[in-house]
């Protein structure tokens, strides 16, 4: 964790309970949290809030996670923000889809929190 200033993580999640639980657990780890409930909000807040990392849920109403990731990575102002794509889907190969859309990493829901933290730390440290 960066001691100088806490890193900002944008949690993009349409399910209220998941969003709340995940953001509160991350806050307990000292991260600043920005919330987005759908793809469009994710894209606009990504630009305005400039988070250090985005946790992007794949199954979103309106603009889905893949498309939102593609737009963020296609915009030079947000392209450098690392994105971890999360999916509750297991049937289709969402990992490949997420990585193809420009996602930096992928994890499944329900999240194994410890493992997710490791991935977050690795990506934030890299940038």
């Amino acid at each position: 964790m960066d001691a100088r200033s806490p890193a900002t993580i944008m949690v993009v999640e349409d399910d209220e309970a998941s969003r709340d639980a995940l953001s509160r657990r991350l806050e307990r780890r000292g991260y600043r949290i920005v919330l987005a409930v759908d793809g469009h909000e994710a894209v606009s807040k990504g630009r305005s809030a400039s988070p250090d990392l985005i946790l992007m849920d794949l199954g979103l109403p309106g603009l889905d996670g893949c498309e939102a990731t593609r737009q963020l990575k296609g915009d030079p102002s947000t392209a450098q923000i690392p994105i971890i794509v999360l999916s509750a889907h297991a049937m289709t190969n969402h990992r490949d889809m997420a990585l193809a859309a420009g996602g930096d990493d992928f994890d499944t829901k329900p999240v194994r929190f410890q493992q997710l933290l490791e991935k977050i730390e690795a990506l934030i440290t890299k940038t």
């Binding site: 399910d15 309970a17 998941s18 639980a21 995940l22 509160r24 657990r25 307990r28 199954g59 509750a88 889907h89 297991a90 049937m91 289709t92 499944t108 829901k109 329900p110 999240v111 929190f113």
Partner: protein, 666 residues
């Protein structure tokens, strides 16, 4: 039946006919001669002594009257006999006697002239025309008596002298007898010749008759052969064909009764098929005759023709009485054989004996009829087979239609099944998403609350929260396993092949697995061969297989030892890695091990309650092994622990190992 030699009776008949003709002819000849003699006698009398003179007075000489009256008496009676009753022996004898008496009269009328005596010799020679020497006897006796008596009492009348030796008649008689001897020989010879002629004529007649008979027979046999040929080749039913054959036999062979039996399918019974002649009905005591019974059955049994020729039919013949009453004189029975196979029997009773050519023809007819029966049967068989074949084709067509319908139905079913599978997959995909999302929240909240409880010093609620977390994780495990299985069954499970170091994989795996194995106070022994290198396979699934096995071993073993042995091996010429997980746990019965790789099957229904687990672990292990071209096997005994051996090919996944398990499990 015509005979080669003429009958005795016919010769005698002819001979007697000739004799009779000769006698009659000669009788008529003599009738004329006698008349002429009478006239001649009168003329002689008129010429030699017309008048008897007494002085100048003359009167008709007594000789003239004698010639007229005596000559009339002597000649006219036998002449009348010759004309009215010719041919009778009495006529001949009368003529013979009359001829001799006429000779005596002439001799007397000519005054005993020696020349007139030649009339006697001439008459005897004429009498020999009869070729009947008996005629000569009374004639000779009359001559001898005449000469003797007149020689004694009136020699002038007979010898032309007044005195003669009383034995002179003997000399005359001797000359007559002398001639008789020659005439007798002539008669005998003439008769012999006549008999020979009769014999020759009879023989000739006989030959002509025989030839005519033979020609008639030939014509009859030719007609028979053509009638039989026609019957056999006409496209009629078997019974009609055989009936026509029997009718032809009766018609052309002067047969009284012709019958044909055929051997039935059991080959033990002859069945009357056709009957013509005196009996035409097909029922009755001989309608069915077993082989070896009655003469018909015997012919069938012995397979040799039977011929009975005689005035009386073989008394052993069953129909002997009937045959005699009907005037049958010949019987012929033929076995009907085709290539020495018996098909029936043919019999013929006839009122005429069978000639050799008739016998030959009947034998040929029997052969023809046999072939005809066999052909009809073959045709019937062919027809039956054709019908069967047609039925079979019909059935086949029906089956093909049914099959086609079934295939169509199956296609529809398959489409439905595919649609259902897709629907199931889609359902599972969305369900898993819908299940995972709240589960995500549950697990995150339970962990969050644990952290907060720890911060706030509330250890009491931590235990409960851990239970919620544990239940959530179990639920997640269950969802994941179900999802994996349904993916495999939908054929959607794919392998993600990568090259990895086996030891590194095991080290990482044991970090996760060790706590699971050791939780029941078990000891874990790991033994890896030094030769282990890398393998090209699906790392995640390989780990999941081993994790499931180790986790199971830990679950079912308490205070025991669990061993993981890893080594290189060769299966069916392919390099493989063998992972063996051995535990000293509860073990399983044979019945349990048989079902252990089926989904939702644990060794015991109470197992889940007692040991936990989803019941899907081993099913997934088995499916994954097959998918990766490997295999899994189990050895176990109750109370003695279990040993699971997994073998996975080091490279590739497309080819099966061990029992040829499919690379993909649908």
């Amino acid at each position: 039946m015509p005979q080669a030699v003429p009958t005795r009776s016919r010769v005698t008949e002819l001979f007697e006919q000739y004799q009779s003709d000769l006698h009659q002819r000669t009788d008529r000849l003599f009738a004329g001669l006698l008349g002429f003699q009478w006239i001649a006698g009168i003329l002689f009398a008129l010429w030699i002594s017309p008048l008897a003179w007494s002085g100048t007075v003359s009167r008709t000489h007594v000789h003239v009257w004698a010639a007229v009256l005596l000559g009339g008496i002597i000649n006219l009676f036998p002449a009348a006999l010759g004309l009215l009753r010719p041919g009778r022996p009495s006529t001949r004898f009368a003529i013979g006697v009359a001829q001799m008496l006429m000779g005596a009269l002439l001799i007397h009328l000519t005054g005993g002239r020696l020349e007139t005596h030649f009339h006697v010799f001439g008459s005897l020679a004429f009498l020999a025309f009869y070729r009947d020497w008996r005629v000569l006897i009374p004639a000779t006796i009359v001559v001898a008596l005449d000469h003797m008596l007149r020689g004694l009492f009136w020699p002038q009348s007979v010898y032309g002298v007044f005195v003669a030796s009383q034995w002179r008649w003997l000399e005359h008689a001797a000359w007559v007898v002398f001639e008789d001897v020659f005439l007798l020989m002539s008669c005998v010879r003439g008769l012999a010749e006549m008999r020979q002629t009769a014999e020759r004529t009879a023989a000739l007649e006989q030959e002509v008759r025989t030839r005519q008979q033979a020609e008639n027979d030939e014509r009859a046999l030719a007609s028979l052969t053509s009638a039989i040929g026609l019957a056999l080749t006409r496209g009629t039913e078997l019974s009609t064909m055989l009936q026509q054959c029997t009718e032809a036999l009766v018609k052309h062979l002067d047969g009284g009764l012709a019958r044909i039996w055929t051997l039935n399918d059991t080959e033990r019974m002859l069945e009357l098929q056709a009957s013509a002649g005196t009996h035409t009905q097909l029922d009755g005591p001989q309608a069915k005759v077993p082989i070896g019974v009655l003469s018909v059955g015997m012919i069938a049994l012995e397979r040799t023709p039977q011929l009975s020729h005689a005035e009386q039919i073989d008394p052993h013949l069953d129909d002997a009485l009937w045959a005699r009453r009907e005037g049958m004189v010949a019987f012929a029975g033929y076995p009907l054989l085709v290539d020495s196979k018996l098909v029936g029997v043919m019999t013929i009773f006839s009122r005429r004996e069978f000639s050799l050519s008739v016998q030959d023809t009947m034998a040929a007819v029997a052969d023809g009829v046999a072939v005809g029966i066999e052909r009809k049967r073959a045709e019937a068989e062919l027809k039956r087979r054709a019908r069967d074949l047609e039925e079979a084709h019909e059935i086949q067509r029906t089956h093909a239609q049914q099959l086609s319908a079934l295939v169509d139905q199956l296609r529809v079913t398959q489409r439905h099944a595919e649609a259902a599978t897709r629907a199931k997959s889609d359902f599972l995909a969305s369900m898993s998403h819908e299940l995972r999302t709240p589960l995500n929240a549950i697990i995150l909240y339970s962990e969050l609350l644990q952290e907060e409880a720890a911060d706030h010093g509330q250890p009491g609620s931590i235990t409960d929260l851990e239970k919620i977390q544990s239940a959530g994780k179990h639920l997640l495990e269950l969802i994941n396993d179900i999802l994996d299985l349904s993916k495999i069954e939908a054929g959607k499970m794919s392998l993600s092949i990568e090259t990895f170091d086996i030891r590194a994989m095991l080290d990482e795996l044991l970090d996760t697995a060790a706590p699971l194995v050791q939780k029941n106070n078990n000891r874990l022994n790991v033994h890896c061969e030094d030769t282990l290198g890398t393998m090209d396979s699906d790392l995640t699934k390989t780990r999941q297989i081993l994790l499931n096995l180790l986790s199971n071993a830990g679950k079912f073993t308490r205070d025991g030892v669990i061993a993981l042995d890893v080594r290189d091996t060769m299966i069916a010429g392919r390099p493989c890695v063998e992972f063996a997980v051995t535990d000293s746990g509860v073990g399983m019965t044979e019945a349990q091990t048989e079902k252990i790789f089926e989904p939702f099957t644990q060794a015991d229904v109470t197992t889940t309650r007692k040991y936990g687990g989803t019941g899907l672990g081993l099913a997934l292990v088995s499916r994954f092994c097959q998918l990766m071209g490997g295999s899994v096997a189990v050895q176990s005994a109750p109370g003695e622990g279990s040993r699971f051996v997994v073998r996975l090919p080091i490279t590739g996944h497309d080819s099966a190992v061990d029992a040829g398990a499919p690379a993909k499990v649908a």
